[in-house]
């Protein structure tokens, strides 16, 4: 029995050394659930920030992460849970929840948006998926009151569900013409690189 235990101990040590040294550990699966910003509207999918993040992490340690881009242009928070279910077969470890911008731009009732996002968070938590909440800000023309309520929605969600929050996904990109395509709303390739930088430290923490 003692002998068997020592074999087992050696095996465990060897396996962990092999995983660390030879990078054989199963990649961490990151699911990005978002809208056109995540989908990479106007740029190639390979240049959208989810793909750039995968590339960046795997450059340092090959095979470290595997990314699923669940961005759908024009999508709102309403379909969040159904979409999360679609990706569950991929068994994601981390969920980057980047929904809500279209709700705000369309003037949707923010109580409904918050409820939808909560349902997605609860479902992910139930399955022990780590969550990173990507916050958004609305353009200034939407008015102080509505913008304030929209910003607050993400802060409240993060607090209520004890989540890590990126205050503004488009930090340094939104409203800067040189980092957006001609519609002025969607990031160009340079813009996606900046978003990648914004998200990296948060994801490092979760990894």
């Amino acid at each position: 029995m003692k002998r068997l235990l020592s074999y087992l101990f050696i095996l465990i040590i060897f396996t962990s050394i092999e995983s660390t040294v030879f990078g054989n550990k199963a990649p961490t699966k990151i699911l990005f659930l978002g809208d056109s910003l995540t989908a990479g509207y106007g740029v190639s999918k390979k240049m959208a920030f989810p793909a750039l993040i995968e590339k960046q992490f795997n450059k340092k340690s090959p095979g470290r992460v595997r990314v699923f881009n669940g961005g759908i242009s024009g999508s709102t928070t309403a379909g969040g849970v159904a979409r999360l279910k679609w990706y569950l077969k991929r068994k994601p470890d981390i969920l980057v929840l980047a929904l809500g911008a279209n709700d705000g731009l369309r003037g949707v009732n923010l109580n409904a948006s918050k409820k939808n996002l909560s349902l997605v968070i609860l479902k992910a938590k139930e399955l022990k998926i780590k969550i990173l909440l990507a916050g958004m800000l609305l353009p200034l023309n939407y008015g102080k009151n509505y913008r304030g309520r929209f910003k607050k929605m993400f802060i409240e969600l993060a607090r209520e569900h004890q989540l890590k929050l990126v205050p503004f996904l488009l930090k340094g990109v939104g409203g800067e013409p040189k980092f957006n395509i001609e519609d002025g709303i969607h990031p160009n390739e340079e813009g996606h690189k900046i978003i990648t930088k914004t998200l990296t430290p948060y994801l490092e923490d979760l990894l």
Binding site: A82, G107, G143
Partner: protein, 847 residues
């Protein structure tokens, strides 16, 4: 010798013929001029409509203010004497009495839009009836009517926009500038430029749309101006728009209509020419005797030639003037008929183009047309003693060569009218080809049948008549063939386009477009609307995907290393954008199978087999897709393969949800999706209250109010439909007039023979049967050939210009076959009737 005076005197001596000639040629001219004027009037109306959508002749817009060098370029390169206006637009949340809503704020300057209007409930039409004093003040707004209910407000109440309060000054019942694109998702509020500044909503980080609008003096090529400006201001962030582009919703149909109208004019031109050519031929045949006598009396051929040219010029010019005068005289009647029958105002007017065409065809065209005929008259007086005479092949070739100036002239005129070298070449080539083919073939066949005999006298006589007068038989046959061909072409093209212009029946056109409906909401939404007696139309699942590869080849444009052109850049972006897929059992009511087979049923594979897909015709053309091609889609991370089993045509003017790519059922059901749907026409109360109610119960479902836009687009499409119909009817009438003229004249040509046969004792019945049989063979044969050719040409034209829209309806060719043959018989019967009834002595005395 004063040739013009002599020519005039000569013509006065042939009053009967001159009258007949002028009557026929002025009719042909009238047809040509009327068609040209209609085309002009319709174009004016449609141009005006497109300008109303843009509100100006030209615009440059961006998500930013224009830069200094861009302003400098526009100021120094746009034509002077322009009006300029700026607009500023943005979305914002606006609070009324207790509620807040998303609105589309649009700031304008006084006088804008330059074309079109805002119909204000109290002030009337702006800008026409609203003086500057009554224009928007810095603290007032004009709002769409539904907003009053949504915000529980009324005129005179206050709205909070940004940090400031604004007074509702008036309500906008009609806005000619509302389109599908900008601001359809939200109700509009108009305010002044000072007003938008007051809101303090425009700061760094605001998403604002700045528009710079221009009005020019008439006659500028706006499309060209757009191209030049685009070349000089290549920033993709600038939207440079001309009215044609602004009316994109109907742009394709508008292009069809323009091409169609060009074709109608061309057909009218060629029809008129066929008629005129035949009339001249008859005229010169009559004059042949006179010319030979003049020659034998010592007049040199050169003078006879000049004299004939004067004849042609005087006759042609008079015909054109008469045609134009009648056309002018008929304007009140035409306007009355137009206002009576058309559901819109069409100020029918004469335009410069029709004058140029009428005089060009009437004078230059006639003279050039007369050249080959005149040269064929250069004969010895001795020839007069022969009934039919033959020419050497060298003489014949020389005769044909004289057609060349006419061919070149008509080719240039055809390009001018149709605006297309291809169409002009096609038409001219066809005309010449038909002549070149039919003439020798006909001569050969007529030679073969000349010896045929029949125990029935009328049969024998009819065949012999045709063979004996083979040149005149072939002339009328070719003319009738061309007439029938042109007659078929326009109604056939009209049929093809009619389907494209089909609009939903009243009440079936949607008033709202709903999107972002979640799967679990569909049945609830249906039940909810049903409780309000509202039907949900065209409910369609929508799954987003990207095309990964086509037949295993990655779907991307080649990267050559060189900088991409603007078009390539856009193409690349469009390829990077996702495509919306749907699934259903078969075709919807607004679709038609063009190629391939329907879906075999539900997908029975286990995920590895390729699914069946249906592709929209234009999309297939754009991606160069054909039956059997296999596309791989990235459906949110999962790769799905689809094989093209059919290509379908979608009638986009149904305004219902339609898709480029449709999957067979059983493949995409599990994928995350939202649903699209439409709501049919509602009354004003329902239209205003429903969105408010739905906002409470279905907060995520976005509703786009299409009522005003669709109403306007439908009217425009209806107008185009009328344009097509009227032009088709007019060209049909012109064609029938030409055929009437041709046959009538041909019978008059035969008068001498008819009288001679009557003198020889042939019975009235046999003579009548002979003529009728002869014209039946000619009319039936020529129309059969002409109609077949017409169908063929319409097919080619459809492929070239009308996106392969071609549908065969047997009623049209059959109807035309009966009409043209029947008309030939009727005209020949009526024309011979008088000759047959007259006494032989009387006729001999007259001649």
């Amino acid at each position: 010798m004063n040739l013009p005076k002599f020519a005039l005197k000569e013509l006065m001596n042939h009053r009967r013929f001159v009258f007949f000639f002028l009557f026929n040629s002025s009719l042909a001219m009238l047809g040509l001029v009327t068609l040209e004027n209609f085309k002009f009037s319709f174009n004016q109306v449609l141009d005006q409509r497109s300008k109303q959508i843009l509100g100006a002749d030209f615009s440059v817009s961006a998500r930013r203010q224009l830069k200094g060098d861009e302003i400098n370029y526009l100021e120094s390169n746009l034509p002077k004497a322009t009006k300029v206006a700026n607009t500023t637009a943005l979305f914002s949340m606006v609070a009324g009495t207790g509620y807040s809503r998303l609105v589309y704020l649009r700031a304008i300057e006084y006088g804008f839009p330059f074309f079109g209007h805002l119909k204000l409930r109290e002030k009337g039409l702006y800008p026409k009836n609203v003086p500057f004093d009554s224009f928007l003040k810095p603290n007032s707004v004009w709002v769409y009517p539904e907003l009053l209910i949504q915000l529980n407000s009324k005129v005179g109440d206050t709205l909070k926009i940004g940090n400031k309060n604004f007074i509702i000054d008036d309500v906008i019942d009609e806005d000619t500038q509302q389109t599908f694109q900008m601001g359809s998702i939200a109700s509009r509020i108009y305010l002044s430029q000072e007003g938008i500044k007051r809101t303090e909503l425009i700061q760094k980080g605001s998403t604002v749309w700045y528009g710079n609008y221009y009005q020019f003096t008439d006659g500028l090529d706006l499309e060209k101006l757009q191209e030049t400006t685009r070349e000089n201001l290549p920033d993709a962030g600038l939207w440079i728009t001309s009215p044609k582009k602004a009316g994109q919703q109907v742009g394709r149909v508008l292009n069809y209509l323009n091409d169609f109208l060009g074709l109608v004019s061309l057909v009218a031109l060629f029809l008129a020419s066929v008629g005129l050519f035949y009339l001249f031929r008859s005229y010169l045949k009559i004059k042949r005797k006179d010319f030979a006598i003049l020659n034998s009396l010592g007049m040199v051929w050169n003078d006879i030639f000049k004299l004939s040219l004067w004849h042609l010029a005087i006759l042609g010019f008079s015909g054109s003037v008469l045609g134009l005068l009648i056309s002018y005289a008929l304007i009140p009647l035409t306007n009355y008929l137009v206002s009576f029958y058309l559901p819109f105002q069409l100020p029918f007017q004469i335009n410069a183009s029709s004058l140029i065409i009428a005089f060009g065809v009437g004078t230059v065209g006639n003279i050039l047309l007369g050249l080959p005929l005149l040269f064929s008259q250069h004969e010895n007086p001795i020839d007069l003693f022969q009934e039919e005479f033959t020419k050497t092949s060298k003489e014949q070739m020389k005769g044909w060569m004289w057609f060349l100036p006419w061919v070149i002239f008509y080719f240039l005129l055809a390009i001018y009218i149709s605006n297309s070298i291809i169409i002009a070449s096609l038409f001219l080539g066809l005309f010449l080809g038909i002549g070149i083919l039919i003439y020798p073939l006909g001569l050969y066949l007529l030679g073969k049948i000349s010896n045929l005999t029949s125990p029935k006298l009328y049969l024998s006589l009819a065949v012999k008549n045709m063979a004996r007068f083979r040149f005149s038989t072939l002339s009328i046959f070719i003319s009738l063939t061309l007439g029938a061909m042109l007659l078929t072409l326009i109604p056939q093209l009209h049929n093809n386009l009619e389907d494209e212009l089909q609009t939903p029946s009243d009440g079936k056109a949607p008033s709202f477009f709903l999107f972002d409906i979640q799967e679990e909401q569909v049945s609830k939404l249906k039940a909810y609307l049903s409780s309000k007696d509202v039907e949900l139309l065209g409910v369609s699942p929508m799954v987003q995907a990207r095309i990964q590869d086509i037949n295993g080849k990655e779907f991307k444009i080649s990267t050559t290393g060189r900088p991409l052109t603007r078009e390539e850049e856009r193409e690349q972006r469009s390829r990077n954008r996702s495509i919306n897929l749907t699934y259903r059992k078969g075709l919807s009511d607004t679709e038609e199978l063009v190629e391939g087979t329907p879906f075999s049923g539900r997908y029975g594979g286990n995920g590895d087999e390729v699914a069946e897909i249906s592709v929209e015709r234009r999309y297939a053309k754009r991606l160069n897709l054909g039956l059997g091609d296999v596309l791989t889609f990235d459906v949110l991370g999962l790769l799905v393969k689809g094989k093209v089993v059919n290509i379908r045509r979608v009638r986009w003017t149904s305004f219902l949800p339609n898709f480029f790519i449709v999957f067979q059922p059983g493949v995409l059901e599990e994928a995350p999706k939202t649903f699209l749907a439409a709501i049919p026409q509602l009354n004003l109360d329902q239209r205003t209250l429903l969105p408010m109610d739905m906002f409470k119960d279905f907060p995520n479902v976005s509703m786009v109010d299409l009522t005003r836009v669709i109403k306007r687009v439908l009217l425009l499409i209806k107008q185009m439909g009328w344009a097509l119909r009227i032009m088709a009817i007019l060209s049909l009438l012109v064609g029938l007039l030409v055929i009437y003229s041709l046959v009538g004249h041909q019978v008059l040509d035969r008068r001498k023979d008819i009288v001679l046969l009557k003198m020889l004792g042939i019975s009235f019945s046999d003579l009548n049967k002979t003529i009728l049989l002869e014209f039946f063979i000619l009319g039936f044969g020529a129309s059969l050939m002409g109609i077949s050719l017409g169908l063929g040409v319409s097919y080619i034209v459809s492929m070239l210009f009308f996106d392969s829209l071609w549908s065969f309806r047997p009623l049209l060719p059959l109807g035309l076959l009966v009409t043209v043959t029947g008309l030939s018989l009727l005209v020949s019967y009526l024309a011979t009737f008088r000759v047959l009834r007259s006494r032989v002595g009387e006729w001999l005395y007259q001649n």
